[in-house]
């Protein structure tokens, strides 16, 4: 794919993804009104608002960094053999690195806005970053081991050649990915940095166009996490329905799964999230690596390489 069409495709994917995720979340929120909406809370785009004493550099840069991180992550997610922004050799690792920019953006925006709620959101965002990075890395490692590559397109090809979706071979890895994906996207049980108790954290300090940029970034974030889940565990665009439609349906499935699965658990405070992550998810992740390693020695999913 040439440079210009790749750029156009990624921008379209970001916008479309944000719209889809936003629509799904608003639709599902009607079914469970008592759950804290977190980042999906309504945002005042009409009125232009800004705190009086901000750190100007961080306050205005934060929404741009959030959208920057999510758009860069979408470059690597394939919706078809050729329909991908850039098939990087280190695609999956790149995806994990780039999505951390959203946490950086919330930290900068929170600190820059200089209101008590926003600064509290900054500390909670850093705490949540500390909670989700290690277990998420351990969850993503499973499919990489089976596909013997970091490139996202090659992962989908490997699942296609082996005729095996990695969710079947690694259910533990998939469950771990959904849990840490909810942490990474600040959804359902882990909405602490955007809790309504601190009036939506960073979102309370922004108005007008910047609030719109935050809304697009946070919705596209959930879409990106769901799309990567489909690529890593559900065979991406190579499923029964080939190409973008199949990939879109799988992404929608994972998206609905993340949003609904979170609604059954009560909201976790930052301390509980950290304790859950380090006491439960990291040990489970380490076991998952050992488990997948032994599965591979038994030849599961290796028919793609013989």
């Amino acid at each position: 794919m040439g440079v210009a069409p790749a750029l156009a495709w990624t921008i379209a994917l970001s916008g479309g993804g944000a719209a889809l995720a936003h629509a799904v979340e608003r639709g599902l929120r009607r079914t469970m009104p008592d759950v804290d909406p977190g980042p999906a809370a309504p945002v005042q785009i009409g009125v232009e608002r800004a705190p009086a004493q901000t750190d100007p550099w961080f306050y205005s840069a934060a929404p741009a960094i959030a959208l920057f991180g999510v758009a860069l992550a979408l470059v690597v997610i394939p919706f078809g053999g050729q329909l991908v922004g850039a098939d990087l050799e280190v695609g999956a690792f790149y995806y994990l690195v780039v999505l951390d920019f959203v946490s950086l953006a919330i930290a900068l925006g929170g600190w820059g806005a200089n209101t008590p709620d926003a600064v509290e959101a900054c500390y909670r965002a850093v705490a949540q970053l500390v909670a989700y990075v290690v277990p998420l890395g351990l969850a993503v490692i499973g499919p990489l081991m089976m596909a013997r590559t970091l490139s996202t397109v090659a992962i989908v090809e490997a699942q296609h050649r082996a005729g095996l979706w990695y969710v079947v071979a690694q259910p533990v890895g998939f469950a771990l990915y959904i849990a840490t994906g909810a942490m990474q996207g600040y959804r359902a049980p882990f909405t602490e940095p955007f809790a309504s108790q601190i009036h939506g954290g960073v979102l309370a300090a922004y108005g007008g166009a910047q609030a719109l940029v935050w809304r697009v970034a946070l919705s596209a974030l959930l879409f990106t996490i769901a799309a990567m889940g489909a690529v890593l565990f559900l065979g991406g665009y190579a499923g029964p329905i080939g190409g973008p439609i199949g990939m879109g349906l799988k992404t929608l499935g994972v998206l609905v799964l993340i949003v609904l699965a979170g609604r059954f658990f009560r909201a976790r405070s930052t301390a509980e999230t950290l304790a859950l992550s380090w006491k439960v998810l990291v040990p489970v992740g380490l076991l998952n690596v050992g488990l997948v390693g032994s599965l591979i020695l038994l030849g599961v999913g290796q028919s793609a390489f013989r």
Binding site: Q53, P56, E89, V90, F93, D100, L104, V126, L129
Partner: protein, 235 residues
């Protein structure tokens, strides 16, 4: 190379400027939070230079490691410092031209008497030297300039002779690094694991100075943290 030479030079200039200015900003800005973010920008500039040198896995490693690491360090700075935002100090200090450039937008007429958080305890009357830099600042600046001029002078006057450029590196970098880690450098691989383990031991032991592991009543510990700070003696 794959991208046009002109574009390469422009990209190199931009990323080099980001990394050098970021490091300079870290050393000079008044706000602790800003110095942490400047340093992070500097590391991202160096990561982009790694990318120009076709070391893609290293570039991602650099970004991932220092994004998390710097946010944690900034959090610790906020915990330790009494004026993390730098708004009070920016108004009070006499700043050099460079420091003023990197602290713009911070100083506002915040009234002196504003209560400053838990670690506050600031008595202006004693003229306690609150500045973030040691009195050795002037001498240090000349020392820094001397090192910079000597090193870059040597490099520019006598460029590295055999800098003839060989073939492009193998694009499959994760595979090559994995082979090396599993083969020739297995000791480094296990050694790094051991080093990480020792790091965890050290960090946990130092940060949690409880004699018996996990004593139930943490009174003395919490008292140490919550106790009002002793009046800052001269020094």
């Amino acid at each position: 190379m794959e991208i046009a030479p002109a574009l390469q030079i422009v990209l190199f200039a931009v990323f080099a400027a980001i990394s050098v200015l970021g490091a300079l900003g870290m050393a000079t800005t008044m706000s602790m939070f800003r110095s942490g973010v400047f340093l992070m920008a500097s590391f991202f500039g160096v990561a982009a230079l790694f990318l120009l040198l076709l070391a893609d896995l290293l570039s991602l490693l650099q970004v991932m490691m220092y994004l998390g690491g710097m946010l944690v360090m900034i959090l610790f700075m906020v915990l330790f410092s009494s004026d993390p935002g730098g708004s009070m100090m920016a108004g009070m200090m006499t700043m050099t031209r460079v420091e003023k450039a990197f602290s713009r937008g911070l100083s506002r007429p915040s009234p002196m008497a504003t209560p400053h958080g838990a670690g506050g305890g600031m008595d202006m009357a004693a003229g306690h030297d609150m500045s973030m830099t040691t009195p050795a600042r002037k001498w240090a600046r000349h020392f820094g300039w001397a090192v910079a001029v000597v090193l870059s002078g040597a490099l520019v006057l006598r460029p590295v002779a055999r800098a003839t450029e060989r073939a492009l590196p193998d694009p499959r970098s994760p595979e090559r690094i994995g082979d090396l880690l599993m083969g020739k450098y297995m000791i480094a691989f296990e050694g790094a694991g051991l080093l990480i383990l020792l790091g965890i031991f050290g960090a946990v032991l130092l940060a949690r100075p409880s004699e018996r592991p996990d004593p139930e009543d943490r009174g003395h510990l919490r008292a140490a943290v919550d106790a009002p700070p002793p009046p800052p003696e001269e020094g």
